[in-house]
Symmetry: C2
Subunit: 345 residues, 2 copies
DNA sequence: CTTCCGGATTTGATCGATCAAACTAAGATG
DNA sequence: CATCTTAGTTTGATCGATCAAATCCGGAAG
C-alpha cells in the first residue's frame, strides 16, 4: 500500500504550503476563500485524512474522552442504564469530532492507576465518571492532579456541590420518586412503602427523600409510621423479594410500593401479587417486559449535558475555566414516570 | 504543572541515552540486566509514562481496536449481549496493553466512512465487527482495503467461510438449539415449535437448523409437519406474541416452543400460559428475571477468541498472516442451556 | 514616492518516541 | 599481535502535524 497523503502532499497539489493546509483544517476563517476551496478540492482528491497521533503529539490534545466500562453491574438489570448512557455519549462525542476510549478497572485504586496511564500517555484529555459514591477517592485525585473530568452523579458527601472544579450532571431522583409516590396517592393509595438501599447512599437517600416529601404532602402518616415503611437492602431481585416478605411478616400493612431500582421492584412484584401497585426506577428492558411502571431517566440529555459542561456548548476542546468562570458547572435533569400495566404475578 | 518526563529525562537520570530507555521499554532482553534495573528505577522515580501519541506516530501502530457501539438493538432486551461482549473485550484488551475506541454509525455506509477516518488517522489498528449479515459490505470493504479486522459472527452468504482474510469467532447457535430441543424432547414433549426470524438470516437459519436436526433425530414428525411448526417473524416481544397467537388460531397444535431470541420467547410466554415450556436464546437479564430457560453464550470466550485471532495468543500487535499462514482463522464456541422455572403467566 | 499596516502565506523549530546505522569495548580467532 | 565478532549502547534522522516567527504584498497614509 502506498504511503498515505500528508499535509505536504495536499499542499503540493493545491500549490500552497503545509501550514496553509493546516489552517484550512483548523482555522478556515483566516484563509482566503479562494485558496481554501482549492485546498479543499485537493484534500478531497487525495482522500487526505489528518494523522490523529501526529496532531496529538504537537497539540498535546487527544480529543478523546476516557470512560470506565462498569463491571457488569449487580444483577445485570440496570446495566442497560450505563449502556444507554454510553451510547448517547458516544453519539454526542462523534458529532463533536471527539472519540471515546474504554477501559476497565478492578476498583477505585486501579481506576486511578488507569487515569494516570491514560492521561500521562496523552491518550485522553478528560474522563467521564459514572456511579460516584460518598467521598469518592477518584474525584479527589483528579482534582488534585488537575485532570479535567465530569461525573454522572453528584459529588455526594462533599460540602460544596458547587465546587467549580467538579463538573457534574445528574438525574433528579428525588423528583422521580416524588412523581411516582404522588401518582399512587392520587390513585387512592395511602400507605405507600419505599423499598430502598441502606444509608448512606447518595442516590438512595435522595430518592427516599422524594418519597418522604410526597408522603408528607399527600397523606396523614406520621414520621414514625413512615420510618416503618422504608425497608433498606442491597440492590437485587432476591433482596427486594425478601425485604417485602419480611415487611409483610412483620405485620406492617402497605398499599403500594415505590422502589429505588427495577431490580428491587421486580423482587417486590414476585411477592405482592397483582393487586398491589409497584413502581420501579430506571425503566429497564426488564421493566418493559414484565409491565412494570418505572421512572425513565433522560440519558440522552445527561450525556449531552456532560459534554456541554466539559467541552462547551458545541466545542471539541476543553473549556478553559480560568477564562470563563461563569460557565455552568453542573446540571440536574428531571426524570419522568412511565405507567404500565402488569404482566407478572 | 511541570512538563512530563520523557525518555530523555529518564536517560539523564539513569546515565544512559534515550534509546536505551526505549529499549528497556520495548526490547528489555537486549539491555544488560544491570543497566535495565537502573533505568527501571529511574522510570519509577520520575513516574515516567510513555507518550502514546509519539509512539504511535513513529511506529505507525496505535495498539487500539475500534468497535462500533450498536444502535440500541431492537427492544433493548438483547442489548445486554453486546454489552457483555464489549466488557469482556475491554478486559482482554487491557490485559494485552490494548485500548478500545468506540464509535457509532447510522448504517453500513456511514460505518465504512468511520473505518476510513479512524484507520487513516492512525487511531486504530484493527476493527471488531458485530452483527454481521448476508453480503455484509463492511467486511468486503475492509478486505479490499487491507485493514485488519475480526468479526463476531460468521461471514454468512460468502462461499468460503475459511477465507484467510476474514477472521471470525461465532457461537454455534445450531448446537444451542439442538440442546434446547433435545432437552424438551427428553422431557416428553413431541411437537416442539421453533419461533424464529424470516429467512435469509445467517444466525436465524443456523438456529433453525439445530432445531430441525434435533426434531428429526428425536421425534417422528415429517418434514411437512415441521414446516408448519416454524413461524418466522422479526425480532420483538410483540411479534413473538402475535406469531404464537396465530399459530394457535391456525389450529396447529404444539407442546413446547424454542425461540431464536429471548424477546420472541417472552412474547410466546405471554400467550401460552405456564404449562407450555418455552426456551429462549441469549440468557438476558430479562430471561433471568422472568424465569425463562435460555441459551447462554460464552461471551468471555468469544471476546478472548477474537483477540487471539487478531493479535495472536498473547501478543499486543497484529498477527502477520503472510509470515504465519497456519495461524487459526476462526473459532466456533458452544453455548449451553440454562434451565429455569417460570415466574410469569 | 516612501513608509507603514495588516491580511495571507510561508519557513524553521518542535512535540516524544523509535528506527537504522554507527560506534565502543571486550573476547574470540588466526 | 592484528583482525574479526558480537553484545551493548549511542547518535542522527524521521514519523506528520502545529506553533511561532518571518516574509510577502497590495493599499492607505503622510
Amino acid at each position: 500500500m502506498a504511503r498515505l497523503p500528508t499535509v505536504l502532499d495536499v499542499g503540493l497539489l493545491a500549490g500552497v504550503s503545509r501550514q496553509t493546509v493546516s489552517n484550512v483544517l483548523n482555522t478556515p476563517d483566516i484563509v482566503r476563500p479562494e485558496t481554501r476551496s482549492r485546498v479543499e478540492a485537493a484534500i478531497a482528491e487525495l482522500g487526505y485524512r489528518p494523522h490523529a497521533s501526529a496532531r496529538r503529539l504537537r497539540t498535546r490534545r487527544s480529543s478523546t474522552l476516557g470512560i470506565r466500562l462498569d463491571p457488569m453491574s449487580n444483577n445485570g438489570i440496570s446495566g442497560s442504564v450505563h449502556d444507554r448512557f454510553l451510547h448517547s455519549l458516544t453519539e454526542g462525542a462523534d458529532a463533536r469530532g471527539l472519540r471515546i476510549m474504554l477501559f476497565t478497572a478492578t476498583g477505585p485504586d486501579d481506576e486511578i492507576r488507569q487515569f494516570r496511564r491514560l492521561h500521562d500517555g496523552a491518550d485522553v484529555d478528560a474522563f467521564v465518571l459514572t456511579s460516584t459514591f460518598f467521598n469518592d477517592p477518584r474525584t479527589e485525585w483528579l482534582i488534585a492532579n488537575g485532570i479535567p473530568f465530569v461525573t454522572f452523579g453528584r459529588p455526594w458527601g462533599i460540602d460544596d456541590m458547587n465546587d467549580p472544579r467538579h463538573l457534574w450532571v445528574d438525574v433528579d431522583g428525588r423528583s422521580g420518586l416524588h412523581q411516582a409516590t404522588a401518582a399512587l396517592i392520587a390513585e387512592g393509595e395511602r400507605r405507600v412503602a419505599f423499598l430502598g438501599w441502606p444509608s448512606p447512599s447518595g442516590t438512595g437517600d435522595d430518592r427516599r427523600l422524594g418519597w418522604r416529601e410526597a408522603m408528607a404532602e399527600g397523606t396523614d402518616l406520621s414520621p414514625a409510621e413512615l420510618d416503618e415503611l422504608q425497608p433498606a437492602v442491597e440492590d437485587g431481585v432476591a433482596q427486594g423479594r425478601e425485604a417485602i416478605r419480611e415487611l409483610r411478616e412483620a405485620g406492617i400493612p402497605f398499599d403500594a410500593i415505590v422502589a429505588a431500582s427495577d431490580a428491587l421492584a421486580l423482587g417486590a412484584l414476585l411477592v405482592v401479587g397483582p393487586d398491589v401497585p409497584v413502581i420501579g426506577y430506571d425503566n429497564t428492558p426488564v421493566a418493559e417486559a414484565v409491565g412494570l411502571s418505572s421512572i425513565e431517566q433522560p440519558l440522552e440529555e445527561v450525556a449531552a449535558g456532560a459534554l456541554e459542561l466539559i467541552m462547551g456548548a458545541t466545542g471539541s476542546s476543553l473549556v478553559d475555566w480560568e477564562a470563563d468562570p461563569d460557565a455552568p458547572k453542573h446540571r440536574l435533569v428531571t426524570p419522568r414516570l412511565i405507567q404500565r400495566h402488569r404482566r407478572i404475578t
